[in-house]
């Protein structure tokens, strides 16, 4: 359909884009805004590579319609470096060997960020549950769980 104007807060800055509201949020981020950090794996909500934070909640951006971004507050991986929690999580992923090919990493980091925002001192089981919707074909899940646990400990200090 014809483009409409969408206004939202993305990574703490206001944006207005004119786009087709029938697109997926994932495509607005990658195509309209050129933010390529959010990845597309399965396109049907099963891999978590496209995870972003929408109004405080981790969601798969392949299953959100662009029109639903209207007035929303959105955080993507690109917004992680100017945020203490985001920076610590990223560092811990690198230090714990939780990144190999890196394709799944932005999604995992967004899930981890949403978790630590809500629950700064999660147990390993809570960490596993929070990232259970993210798939990694390279590292196995132990280094990823380690990375998030380490980040929570550093942030708790």
């Amino acid at each position: 359909m014809a483009n409409i104007k969408l206004s939202f807060i993305l990574n703490r800055k206001p944006y207005t884009v004119e786009t087709d509201p029938g697109k997926r949020m994932l495509d607005v981020l990658r195509e309209d805004l050129g933010l390529m950090g959010t990845k597309e794996g399965c396109g049907v909500g099963e891999c978590g590579a496209c995870t972003v934070i929408l109004n405080g909640k981790a969601v798969t951006s392949c299953l959100v319609l662009a029109g639903q971004m209207q007035d929303a507050e959105i955080l993507t991986i690109e917004g992680m470096s100017d945020d203490e929690i985001g920076r610590v999580i990223q560092d811990c992923f690198i230090e714990s060997g939780a990144v190999q090919c890196g394709f799944c990493t932005p999604g995992f980091i967004m899930s981890a960020y949403a978790l630590l925002m809500e629950n700064p001192t999660p147990t390993r089981d809570e960490i596993r549950l929070a990232v259970a919707g993210n798939i990694c074909r390279c590292t196995g899940y132990i280094p990823i769980t380690d990375a998030i646990e380490k980040a929570s400990k550093i942030l708790a200090k």
Binding site: P21, T51, L63, G133
Partner: protein, 289 residues
């Protein structure tokens, strides 16, 4: 996906107005976790005005009356699974919603969408069936109430008109001494669209005599079902091991009876029988001793 028009509404009234203004097909969009998956293939929504109801504040959250929980249709599974009222008065539903997909899915996916999509595998259906839940449905400003199980006609089909909006799921409150069990058998722990769920509510008096018993299997029949004959097998009795074996057999025998003999029956019938036995034994543990 291809659509004809898109409109976001913030009140139920605005929804009815948007329907009238749409002239042509409409599609309701809530969390979108079914709509966006359906919309990938073919151009199912290309002639539709998509009406996004997720921003309707009054459809989010859980309220209570003296005897009922009133769950807004746009309440997400994640919100339901943690809601204090649901945990207190309908804990079996908190478990069922908590068993849906992954956190990312539960953060968007709504209970209204779970029902309206009418997938026989929808996880909340068996729990809502044993709870005797009802739906408040609004069309053009007029509300009606129907038993939850009454809207389904066949897999992925309901008798809802396109301008029918489920606004509320009404759940009679359970008394604290109702025992419950919800089991989901899936492929993996998360993200598995259910292969089978078994939902059970059991209430007994001080002597261990059953005063209420509702048990059903989900993701197995073309639509959610309740069985008065199964309930009657335990009500008025103090359950024995033999009763449990009989109920589990009778429940699993419904599968070929209703769904017909299919490839999956070979797998589902014994699985149903086993988990029903396990579930009932757990619920009656103190009585069987």
């Amino acid at each position: 996906m291809k659509i004809r028009n898109f409109i976001q509404v913030k009140t139920v009234e605005a929804f009815h107005e948007a329907v009238k203004a749409a002239n042509g097909s409409i599609a309701i969009l809530a969390g979108g976790t079914d709509v966006l998956v359906n919309g990938r293939e073919d151009d199912v929504y290309k002639d539709c005005t998509v009406i996004d109801i997720f921003p309707i504040e009054e459809l989010h959250g859980v309220r209570e009356t003296e005897n009922m929980l009133l769950i807004g249709a746009c309440t997400t599974h994640e919100a339901i699974s943690h809601d204090p009222l649901v945990k207190q008065y309908a804990p079996i539903l908190a478990e069922a919603s908590g068993a849906v997909g992954s956190l990312q899915t539960r953060n968007r996916a709504t209970i209204g969408g779970n029902l309206a999509n009418a997938s026989p595998a929808a996880d909340t259906m068996s729990a809502l069936a044993v709870l005797h839940a009802e739906l408040v449905i609004e069309r053009d400003g007029e509300a009606r109430v129907e038993p939850m199980t009454a809207i389904f006609t066949k897999p992925y089909k309901t008798n809802l008109a396109p301008n029918d909006l489920i606004t509320t799921i009404r759940v009679p409150k359970l008394s604290p001494n109702v025992r419950y069990d919800y089991i989901k058998v899936g492929r993996r722990k998360v993200l598995s669209i259910s292969r089978m769920t078994v939902a059970t509510l059991l209430e007994m008096d001080d002597e261990g005599v059953v005063t209420r018993f509702d048990m059903t299997v989900g993701a197995t029949f073309p639509r959610p079902m309740l069985f008065p004959d199964i309930s009657a097998m335990l009500v008025g009795k103090r359950p024995t091991e033999q009763d449990i074996l009989d109920v589990a057999k009778a429940l699993s025998d419904k599968i070929p009876e209703i769904a017909g003999i299919r490839k999956s029956t070979v797998y589902k019938q014994p699985v149903c029988r086993n988990i029903s036995e396990r579930s009932l034994r757990k619920l009656c543990a103190d009585i069987l001793k």
